[in-house]
C-alpha cells in the first residue's frame, strides 16, 4: 500500500526532499546484510510505498509540494531532478507568488479556501496513481504561516474527502528561544485544529535535532540541511519496510495503519515521538560495534527518562513502584519525572535481529493502567540493515514526552494572549479571540489528559 506525502511551506518542502532522498538511498544501499532476495523485496516494498514509476525508469516520489511562494519549491524540484536518482512529478507542485507572512490566519482562512480546489486536485491525481492507498503523510512546521495554517486546512479537507484513509502529520516544534515571534500562537492554533482532524501527530523538536547534530554527529556549523537529514534518518528508520507476521520477505503492507493500531489506542492521546539509536557521524561509525542488549538498554532508559538522544541520559530515573498514585500536574516541574507511556513500538533492523531481547519494554510499570503491556507494546523487525548501521533500533512512542514542551508553549501563548499582543494580525483575517480560546481550551484538556495518564 502507498503513502501520499504532502509537503507544505518552506520547512515541509525542505524536509520532504531529505526524507525521500534518505528512503531512496537506503533502499539502494549495497550493504543490506541480507540475502539478495530479501534486499529486492525490501526495495520493492519501499518503492511501492513512496515512489511511482515513470517511463524512463526514474522513480517519482509520491508527493505533492505546496507553498505560497515559489523559491523553495523551485529549489526542491531542481535538487531532486539534479540528483538523477529520483525526482518529483512535473505537475506535482502548487505554488503562489506571495507567502503567508507567518500568519496562521492567512494560511488557514485566505490561502486555504482560495486554493482548496487546486490543491485537492493535485492530491487526488497522486492518489489515483496508487494501487491501494495506506494514507497521507503531511509534513509541516507549526511556527510559520503556510505549513501551519494551510497545513491545518488541508488536513481538515483530507478528513472530509478521504474519510477512510489515515492521516499522519509530521510537525516541527520550533526552537524554544524563538524563530518566529508569533510561533506560539501559530503552534496552538495548529495543534488544536490537527487534534480534531488528524489521526496521529508525529512531533520533532528543532532543539532536540539540533543537539543531536552538535553532540552526536559532531557538526560544527549546523545548518537546517543537517537538521533535516537527522530527521529524515529517524523517519526512514520507522517507515522503511519491516517483516509482517508471516516472516521474512513478506513486508508489512499497511505501514500507517499498523502504526495507528499499535500506537494510538485512544483519540485523546495522539502525540508520537521518535527516538533512534545509534546515531553518529560516519567517521565514528567505522570504529563502533554494538550489541542489541546495549542498544536496547539505552533505548529503554531514553524512553523512561525522556531523553532525546543516547548521550546525557539520566540513569537515576526509574519506573514508579506499582500501587502508588500518579503525581499529576505538580510533578511537571519536579526533577526526576518518569515518562509514562501509553503505547510503544520498537523497530529493529540489522544483524541477528531475532536474538534481541525486549523484555525491558514489556514491564507493566512503564505503561498506564488501562492497557495491558501485551497491547501497549509491539515490535517490528527486519534483517535488512538500515543506512550503513549494522544494527539500529527505533522507538516510536506515545508517552508523556511532549507534555512539558506542550505546557510551555501553551503558557507562553496564553501570556501573550492575555496582553492582546499581535491579535489584530489574526482578527484581520477572520480568526477571532474566540477561536484562540477554543484552541486554549482543547490544549489544556490534552495537557491534563497526558498529565494524569
Amino acid at each position: 500500500m502507498s503513502i501520499v506525502t504532502v509537503q507544505l511551506g518552506q520547512c515541509g518542502n525542505q524536509i520532504g526532499f531529505e526524507v525521500f532522498d534518505a528512503l531512496y538511498t537506503d533502499s539502494h544501499c549495497p550493504q543490506g546484510l541480507c540475502s539478495k532476495r530479501e534486499n529486492e523485496a525490501y526495495q520493492a516494498s519501499c518503492k511501492e510505498r513512496f515512489f511511482s514509476e515513470e517511463e524512463n525508469g526514474v522513480p517519482v516520489a509520491r508527493a505533492v509540494l505546496v507553498d505560497m511562494e515559489p523559491k523553495v519549491t523551485n529549489q526542491t524540484l531542481s535538487k531532486a531532478a539534479q540528483s538523477g536518482r529520483w525526482k518529483y512529478g512535473q505537475h506535482s507542485c502548487f505554488c503562489q507568488k506571495q507567502g503567508s507572512g507567518n500568519n496562521w490566519a492567512y494560511g488557514y482562512s485566505v490561502h486555504g479556501p482560495r486554493h482548496e480546489e487546486s490543491i485537492m486536485n493535485l492530491i487526488q491525481k497522486e492518489v489515483e496513481k496508487c494501487d491501494s492507498l495506506s494514507g497521507f503523510f503531511i509534513i509541516m512546521s507549526m511556527a510559520g504561516g503556510t505549513g501551519s495554517g494551510l497545513g491545518a486546512f488541508v488536513t481538515q479537507n483530507l478528513q472530509d474527502q478521504y474519510s477512510n484513509s489515515l492521516k499522519m502529520n509530521q510537525i516541527i516544534w520550533p526552537y524554544g528561544t524563538g524563530e518566529v515571534i508569533v510561533q506560539n500562537y501559530n503552534s496552538i492554533l495548529t495543534l488544536s485544529h490537527l487534534y480534531r482532524s488528524s489521526d496521529a501527530l508525529l512531533v520533532h523538536e528543532n532543539d532536540a535535532l539540533h543537539k543531536i547534530c552538535a553532540k552526536l554527529m559532531n557538526i560544527k556549523q549546523i545548518s537546517f540541511s543537517d537538521i533535516n537529514q537527522v530527521l529524515a534518518h529517524q523517519l526512514g528508520s520507522v517507515f522503511q519496510p519491516t517483516y509482517s507476521v508471516e516472516g521474512s520477505c513478506h513486508y508489512r503492507r499497511n505501514p500507517l495503519g499498523d502504526l495507528m493500531e499499535n500506537l494510538v489506542p485512544h483519540p485523546e492521546f495522539k502525540m508520537l515521538g521518535i527516538r533512534n539509536i545509534p546515531q553518529m557521524s560516519e567517521n565514528s561509525l567505522a570504529y563502533s560495534t554494538f550489541t542489541w542488549a546495549g542498544l536496547l538498554k539505552h533505548l529503554r532508559q531514553m524512553l523512561i527518562s525522556n531523553s532525546k538522544m543516547e548521550e546525557g541520559i539520566d540513569w537515576q530515573v526509574r519506573p514508579p513502584l506499582s500501587g502508588l498514585p500518579t503525581l499529576g500536574k505538580a510533578s511537571l516541574n519536579r526533577g526526576l519525572h518518569f515518562n509514562m507511556s501509553i503505547a510503544n513500538l520498537v523497530i529493529l533492523r540489522g544483524k541477528d535481529v531475532h536474538s534481541a531481547d525486549l523484555g525491558g519494554f514489556k514491564d507493566s510499570a512503564l505503561y498506564t493502567s488501562w492497557l495491558e503491556p501485551i497491547n501497549a507494546f509491539n515490535v517490528w523487525k527486519t534483517q535488512r540493515a538500515f543506512s550503513k548501521y549494522e544494527k539500529s533500533a527505533a522507538l516510536v512512542s506515545n508517552s508523556q514526552f511532549l507534555l512539558k514542551p506542550l505546557d510551555t508553549i501553551v503558557g507562553k501563548a496564553w501570556n501573550m494572549f492575555a496582553s492582546k499582543a499581535y491579535i489584530h494580525q489574526y482578527t484581520k483575517f477572520g480568526i477571532e479571540e474566540e477561536d484562540f480560546l477554543d484552541s486554549f481550551t482543547l490544549l489544556e484538556q490534552v495537557v491534563a489528559s497526558y498529565c494524569n495518564v
Binding site: Q10, Q14, E69, P70, K71, V72, N74, Q75, Q96, K97, Q98, G99, G101, N102, N103, G145, Y175, G176, T177, G178, E179, V180, I181, V182, H210, C213, A214, I219, K220, Q221, I222, S223, F224, S225, I227, V410, G411, K412, W414, N415, M416, A418, S419, K420, A421, Y422, H424, Q425, F440, T441, E444, Q445, A448, S449, N452
Partner: protein
Amino acid sequence: MITKGAFLILSLKHVLMQVNFSFEGNGTFLCISYYSQYKAQIQPRYSEYHNHAVLIDMEEGVVNEILQGPLRDVFDSKQLITDISGSGNNWAVGHKVFGSLYQEQILEKLRKSAEHCDCLQCFFIIHSMGGGTGSGLGTFLLKLLEDEFPEVYRFVTSVYPSGEDDVITSPYNSILAMKELNEHADCVLPIDNQSLFDIISKIDLMVNSGKLGTTIKPKSLVTSSAGAVKKRHQKPFDAMNNIVANLLLNLTSSARFEGSLNMDLNEISMNLVPFPQLHYLVSSLTPLYTLADVNIPTRRLDQMFSDAFSKDHQLIRADPKHSLYLACALMVRGNVQVSDLRRNIERLKPSLQFVSWNQEGWKTSLCSVPPVGHSHSLLALANNTCVKPTFMELKERFMRLYKKKAHLHHYLQIEGMEESSFMEAVSSLSGLIEEYNQLDATKSMPVEDFPRLSIAV
C-alpha cells in the same frame, strides 16, 4: 537645507550591477513598489530590468539630475511627476496644495506600475520629515495608497531632522507628518542624518588610521557604491545615503534570494508590530566594513551580532540595549547557519530586556547570498522603547516654536489648515509617547505568568 536620498539597485543575482546615484533637493522622495526578484532572473539583461518606481518632486532640479546621470537608463520620464516651485519647507503646501493638484496623476502612474506586477506585495516610501514635499506630499501619498491598495503593505523610511537642522519649520513639518505615519503606515524605519554621519565618520577613521596590517576589503564598506575606497568622504551625503540603500537591500534580500529560512516582507509587519500604533522599528547594519586579513571566522561572526546591538550601529540616535524590546528581527545574509544564529541569540539574550509577554521575541531569517564585498551581514530591526527620546525631543522642539506661534501663518493661510490640525498632530504624538511610557514602566517588574484556564478532568 539639502536633503539627499540615494537608491542602490542590485538588479541581478550573479551579475553584480550595482548602480548608485544621489540626488539633492528639498524633500525629494521615491515611492517604489517592489516585486519578486525571480522575474529579473529570467531577464538577464540590465536594460530590461523593469523597475517600478515613481519619482516625485515639486522642484525639477533633482529629478533632472537623475535623468541625466548614470541611472538615466533605469528610469524614464513616464515615471516622474514634477512641478517647478517646490513646497517651501511647508508641510501644508506639500500635503494640501500639491496633494490635491497631483492626486489623479499620481494614482494613474501607480496603477500603471501596479499592473506590471505579478504580485504587488508592498510599497516603499522614502522621504524626509523636516521638509515640505517629502513630508507633506509624501504623507498625503500614504493615505492615497491605503485607500487605493488597502491590502498592500506600506513601508516608510523616514529621515528625521537632527539636532542641528537648519530648516526652522522642521518640527512643524515632522509632527504633522508623524500623525499621518501613526495612522497610515504599516511600518516606519526612522533614520536621522546625525547617526548616519557618525557612522561614516567611524568608517573614515578606520580607513585613514593606517593601522598596521589592517586593510579594508574593497567594496565592503556599508557606504561604498561603485567600489573604490575613498580617502575621505568629500560628499558625505553620498555615503550616508548608501547606508540607507543598503538597509533596503538587506531588508528585501530574503525575499529576493534563496536561503534556508526565508523571510518575506509581509512577515516583518506580522512579527514586529504587536499593536497597530507601535510600528516604529530601529534598524542597525553590521558589519560596517570587512577587514581583509582577518582569519578568525567565528569570532568575527559573533562580533557582528554583538555590534548590531551597540548604539553606535543604530541608524537613529537610540540605545536599544538599555531600553525595552517588544520584538527583534535578525536578518542574516551569507555563510551563516542556524547554529551561529542560535548561539548568538543565547549569548546576547541575558543582556537584553524583553517585554514580559514576549520574552523569546526573536524573528530570524537566513539568506544564502551575502551583499557585495562581504561574506556575511546582519540587519537587525528592533521594536524598542528607545525610539521614545527621539519623539519626545521632536515634541519639545515643536512646542518651543508653537508657543510663540512662530511661522504659523505660513501654514494657516493654506486652505484646509487650522490650528486644530496642529493640536491633533501633537495629541497623536503624545498618545504614542504615552504608550511607550507605559511599556517602560513594566521594565523592572517581575515577570509573572497569567493564571491558566483550569479544566475539569
